[in-house]
Subunit: 386 residues, 2 copies
Amino acid sequence: MSMECAQLPLAGITVVDLTRVLSGPYCTMMLADMGARVIKIENPDGGDDSRQVGPFVDGESAYFASINRNKESIALDLKDAGDRQVLERMLATADVLVENFRAGVMEKLGFTWEDLHARYPRLVYASISGFGQTGPYRARPAYDMVVQAMGGLMSVTGEAGGNPARVGVSIGDIGAGLYATIGIQSALLKRVQTGLGERVDISMLDCQVALLENPIARYSATGGVPQPLGTRHPSITPFDMFATQDGFIVIAVGNDALFGKLCDALGRSEWAQEDRFATVPARNEHHVALKACLESRLADATTAEWEAILEAAGVPHGPMNTVPQLVSNPHVRARGMILEIGIGDGKALQVAGNPVKFGSTEALSGVRNPPSLDQDRDRLLAEFGG
Amino acid sequence: MSMECAQLPLAGITVVDLTRVLSGPYCTMMLADMGARVIKIENPDGGDDSRQVGPFVDGESAYFASINRNKESIALDLKDAGDRQVLERMLATADVLVENFRAGVMEKLGFTWEDLHARYPRLVYASISGFGQTGPYRARPAYDMVVQAMGGLMSVTGEAGGNPARVGVSIGDIGAGLYATIGIQSALLKRVQTGLGERVDISMLDCQVALLENPIARYSATGGVPQPLGTRHPSITPFDMFATQDGFIVIAVGNDALFGKLCDALGRSEWAQEDRFATVPARNEHHVALKACLESRLADATTAEWEAILEAAGVPHGPMNTVPQLVSNPHVRARGMILEIGIGDGKALQVAGNPVKFGSTEALSGVRNPPSLDQDRDRLLAEFGG
């Protein structure tokens, strides 16, 4: 493998990162994991808010550590003239500026798109905010929980007939971080053609709407209000979690041929011949009866026994893993999805790896630890201090 | 605005799309929404499986329509010599090939990365599969439900103390589609430097691990097994849904200053002075008591009344919207997040828009309807038929 091929794809891209907490830092972690240089600008008064969010290891935030690897840190006061000059010198050579202040804050600080674009025409300027740079709610603050609720995701998550539930991860923030990464990369690709940077405007609420694509289309098609369904798929059956003799197994059968294989594997081939189970629409209509049939048979063996039988039969299935089971899973380990980074007094913290795998680059084995606040000050001032 | 600036960022990029159902089509919808030309190759025997998934409008699948706008369609039999020649001629000029067959299927069809890379060195070759192209589970089939369960997301979603719940959208598929989009764009950016295409290998399970970043770090830091928490945030309090006089409101307070503003807005400034509520760790420890305090006061007014009070106070909050409330929300409408496309016998279907907004391009007003199976055959054969 040549050195060139082994280089990470975003090598050579420099990102000036004004983001805090989660949505922005998740975006810039993705960019850093793929080879971009990310210079994290933190406020001198404690830095990124998430440094104060637990749990802590020897006083260091695991929340912060999980999403800030591979970044440099410098503390700058964006209201101080000297510090602003340092930032400006960074922007003069950077490819991307990312910020996730509330809409309007960058303008108050004097960093408008119009002005920065005039001075640094190649700079991509990406903003992530709760509601975007336009629209009636643009000045409102937001957090993950707010956009999960306003965006409808909570209204379709949880037990059937029960209370709405929050998704157990901050998909309001992480979703915005992913769409922001896509927007930034699109703008960089466009710049190859035009030579000009672009304004990217990501609204966390917009991103929730985008994730709701199927409930929105279902509502529009039928007029029915999408509800929480527990573990069942809204329009494909059987696509659910089922009790076995000793636990739970998910079975995901998306077409009639697979349903036949499932019935054969269970020793109940006759079910596939019944009119009420013969097609996807029929199985959707009779999902309660079908679940009862399936669980009556699944109770005869353990999850591990059914896993072996369904694997041999080629029927999509899987156990429900807890986080400890996930972290120790041999496939997850083989894919390099659990990284260890240093935290606190020489301890190791396990964090999720980068799922964007490239055939010609090795797993990111040389991961750099999350920065302490202002750790790269001297080197960065030597480079950008004027 | 010049014509050049108004062009969508991926204009000029051609994607040959072998994907079916959701993860791959979501990825290629993103690429198409941002201006790429997407040629959807469907099997002649009914096309994309999701054309058979309900609900239907005049016999057309709303599931399919929701994620296949802006694409062209041609039916090709990948085992037929003539049809394979058409595909090869497309690949000779395309920038990206995307497929989401089970790992190994493309190799059986004779389309290996090594071979295609040798013949079309600039082609980016992206695969989305349940478990990736490497690792012990690589040959297993998977669906959204399977990776949500195996990936730990179900184990942290649902009511506190209750059963695990599936996220109410197919985040196993959509997550993979988003990371695949990021991988493809990274590879296109690298190609600008190297002139060579890249192999992108996306595993749906890997993507779930990536979304679990916070539960994994919390488990590693504390040893505690992350559990479903209903609507509460795991490490920030108050960050939850609360009952009001007539419904629910989400309040999301991430730091002590905001907590002070919340207490002032509720007319209960003294709460912020109590030791048990003074810091994030203290509020986390006493979250049950704090929720009781807050709901005792929130019961005095309606959700709408509290919204007005909290908005004036600058405290992040929001109502819990159902899908109908979301679709009719004035801010969501103002952001162009609800598109109408044609379906069936001249009917309109509302679908989610693209959340990646660019400052210099208008909202994608000229959205093209999802294709009927093979609708672009004649034109595509004229272009690629040899």
